[in-house]
Amino acid sequence: MALIRIADDNLVVVMEGLDKFWAFKSRLTIPLANVRGATVDPGIATDFKGIRAPGSHLPGVIIAGTFHHDGDKVFWDVKDASKAIVVELADEEYTRLVLQVDDPRAAVALVENALV
C-alpha cells in the first residue's frame, strides 16, 4: 500500500512495508504542477499492464514497480485492486502512478483539492 500526502507543493508517495522491495522504490516526490489529476479506478488492475522493467507482477499477490505500455512509463503499487487510484502526471519520469491507498475517495479528493 502507498501513503500519499501533500508537502510544500509536492505530492509525496511513500511505499509501505515490503512494497518498497517489490516496487524497487520506497518514495516518489512529484511537484504538484506536474500532477494532472487523480481518479478512483478499481478496474485498472484487470487491464493490460504492459512490460515490467524493473517491476514485480505476481498475479493475485502484487503489481509493483515500473511497467511500459504504449510508450508510457507507469508506476504500480497495488495488491488490492479495489483500492486502486490513478494519478496522471506531466513532464515526469512516469506518465502515471497506479497506487493502492487506504481510502481511495479521500486520496483522490486530497490530490484534486491540492490542484485547485
Binding site: R36, G37, A38, T39, V40, D41, P42, G43, I44, D47, H69, D70, G71, D72, V86, E88, T95, R96, E112, V116
Partner: protein, 166 residues
C-alpha cells in the same frame, strides 16, 4: 505532439455528456467510460488527466451544446409562458445533476453551473424586459417544473396567474 489520438475526442466527450447526465458522478466508473466512449484507458488518462478532468470537459460541452441553443431560443421569447415552455422542455440533465451533486464539492463545477444558470436568467430578463430578480424566479420555477417531470398544465397555470409581466 506525439502520436495522433486513436479515437474521436468529440464523439467521446458527447458520449460522456450522456453518461454523466444519466447517472451520478460516482455511479460512472472508469470501466463504464472505457466501455461506452470507445477510448482505451491510457488515452482517457492521457487526454483528460482524470475522470474529473473529463467531467469538466463534458459539462462545458453540455453547456455549449444544450444551454446555448436554449439562450438563443429564449432571446425570441415574448412572454413568460414561452420562456417557461422553453426551459422546461430543454435537455438540461447534466446541468441539473451537476448543480445538485458536484457543485457543493467542486469549485470549478460550481463556477460553470452558476455561469450557465446566470446566462439563462439574463436571457429571460432581456427577452421579457423584466427585472433580474423576477427573471431568476422564472428560471427557478421552470427548473423546478422540469425536475418534477414537467407535469401537465403546471407551467401554463403559472404563466396565466402571472399575466403580462410588463
Amino acid at each position: 505532439m506525439g502520436r495522433p489520438r486513436a479515437f474521436d475526442e468529440d464523439e467521446a466527450v458527447r458520449a460522456a455528456v450522456g453518461l454523466f447526465g444519466g447517472r451520478a458522478y460516482d455511479g460512472v466508473s472508469v470501466d463504464d467510460l472505457v466501455a461506452h466512449l470507445g477510448v482505451h484507458r491510457n488515452s482517457l488518462y492521457k487526454t483528460f488527466g482524470s475522470k474529473r478532468g473529463l467531467y469538466l470537459v463534458a459539462l462545458r460541452r453540455h453547456i455549449a451544446d444544450d444551454v446555448r441553443p436554449l439562450l438563443d431560443a429564449l432571446a425570441e421569447a415574448t412572454d413568460a409562458a414561452t420562456a417557461l415552455r422553453l426551459v422546461t422542455s430543454a435537455d438540461l440533465g447534466l446541468l441539473l445533476l451537476a448543480a445538485i451533486e458536484r457543485s457543493p464539492v467542486d469549485e470549478e463545477v460550481a463556477f460553470e453551473v452558476t455561469a450557465a444558470l446566470d446566462s439563462v436568467d439574463r436571457a429571460i430578463a432581456d427577452a421579457l424586459g423584466v427585472p433580474a430578480a423576477l427573471a431568476t424566479a422564472l428560471t427557478a420555477a421552470a427548473l423546478g417544473i422540469l425536475l418534477r417531470g414537467n407535469p401537465d398544465k403546471v407551467a401554463t397555470a403559472l404563466a396565466q396567474h402571472l399575466g403580462p409581466l410588463t
